[in-house]
């Protein structure tokens, strides 16, 4: 993947896209945007579209609240105050990329015909993302 960090900020990743570069950051625009001409066949992608929507978290639900509660409860505030920079050494890879990679993995599953995962699997996937396979087609 042609990833080029440019800019002064450690927390900013700029990528100039090119052929063969990953879809991680642009998957949603390719699937959801662009000119649509009605009445002409769109290639069958129903499973993929469902999964990209499933990957979004509905903010106002009991499950989400419980998840937020769990997240805030497993925080180690003491070590936070002392060691914030340590948490961030993973930098870009552990943050934004992990979030979007989940959606791409979902697409790969859909393409393989595995159907949509249930919500429990979704949560597991999120926790395991960082160990996930980076390869992209």
């Amino acid at each position: 993947m042609a990833v080029a960090a440019r800019g002064t900020s450690q927390n900013y990743l700029y990528r100039a896209p090119g052929p063969g570069s990953g879809l991680v950051d642009v998957l949603d625009v390719i699937l959801d945007k662009g000119l649509v001409i009605d009445a002409y066949v769109r290639v069958s992608l129903v499973g993929i579209e469902l999964l990209t929507i499933d990957a979004r978290i509905v903010i106002a639900s009991v499950d989400t609240y419980l998840k937020f509660a769990q997240a805030v409860n497993r925080l180690d505030i003491a070590s936070q105050e002392g060691g914030l920079p340590d948490l961030l050494e993973g930098g870009m890879e552990s943050g934004a990329e992990g979030k979007t990679k989940g959606a791409l993995d979902g697409v790969k599953e859909a393409v393989k015909g595995n159907g949509k995962p249930d919500s429990d699997e979704d949560e597991d996937e999120e926790q395991e993302q960082d160990e996930g396979d980076e390869s992209e087609d």
Partner: protein, 265 residues
């Protein structure tokens, strides 16, 4: 699938272009048909297409990549490019020429003018979960209190407290998201011709937005994003991809006057 058409190939459409320089890209086509990328000429624009198998209805992930790659490469070779949404297939070249290039000429012209010499920048900003949660606990005594109570007691005994805690955290996060997101937009939007913000955020998303930029403004835009990321410090991760074909600024639906419903399955 309909078997009514006798020919075995169809025409896959990537985008509408004007001002092509350096020829068409030699890249693999969607459907991996082994044939090249070609152009159908209209009066004042080109439809960029490739052959697709007539029975081609299911796409693989690689096809998304090929669609994206062709448009990305075209972006650097054209003065104006209107990207089609992934998956648009016409029964044949002649139908495409007649029903799109000729019948929708005025609409295509308006879109081409809108995106001429312009590109999209796609921005995604995420909170670093641990940092923003620590911030919220520190700022809100009620959250800190509930957190202590639910940590001290068994999970079964605190179900409603945990829901309340999560609700407060979600609400605090939403308030931060609104404030920080507007702050970022206030810096970046003036540099763009137009922008769109995604309505459905991911869990830790701060801002997901696309900006329509003059080509000449891309470098300055990156500097501005970098500066915004500086201001947000290590509590936020910012990613930006540009220049992209202006997918988010041509998201309109053209409805034909005479739908060919018989072919469109």
């Amino acid at each position: 699938m309909h078997e009514s058409r006798s020919n075995s190939t169809a025409t896959y459409l990537y985008g509408i272009a004007r001002g092509l320089r350096k020829g068409l890209p030699a890249l693999p086509a969607v459907g991996d048909s082994g044939t090249g990328i070609r152009a159908i000429e209209g009066d004042s624009c080109l439809a960029i297409v490739s052959d697709a198998p007539g029975s081609f209805v299911e796409a693989a992930a690689g096809d998304l990549q090929r669609h994206s790659d062709v448009l990305q490469e075209l972006l650097g070779r054209t003065a104006a490019l209107v990207p089609l949404r992934f998956g648009t297939v016409y029964p044949d070249d002649e139908t495409l020429r007649r029903d799109l290039l000729e019948a929708r000429r005025d609409e295509l012209e308006a879109l081409l003018q809108r995106v001429e010499n312009r590109v999209e920048a796609r921005l995604k900003a995420f909170y670093v979960e641990e940092s923003v949660l620590a911030e919220i606990v520190a700022e809100q005594p009620q959250i800190a209190g509930l957190r202590q109570r639910t940590q001290a007691l068994p999970a079964d005994a605190t179900y409603y407290d945990r829901i309340r805690l999560g609700e407060l955290v979600a609400s605090a996060l939403e308030a931060k998201r609104r404030r920080d997101g507007q702050g970022m937009l206030a810096h970046l939007a003036p540099m763009a011709v137009d922008h769109v913000v995604e309505e459905e955020p991911h869990e830790w998303a701060l801002l997901t937005a696309s900006f329509l930029l003059e080509r000449s403004a891309v470098d300055d835009f990156h500097s501005a994003v970098s500066s915004v990321a500086d201001d947000a410090e290590q509590r936020v991760q910012v990613r930006c991809v540009a220049p992209l074909p202006p997918y988010s600024f041509v998201s309109v639906q053209l409805t034909p006057s005479e739908p060919e419903a018989a072919w469109a399955s």
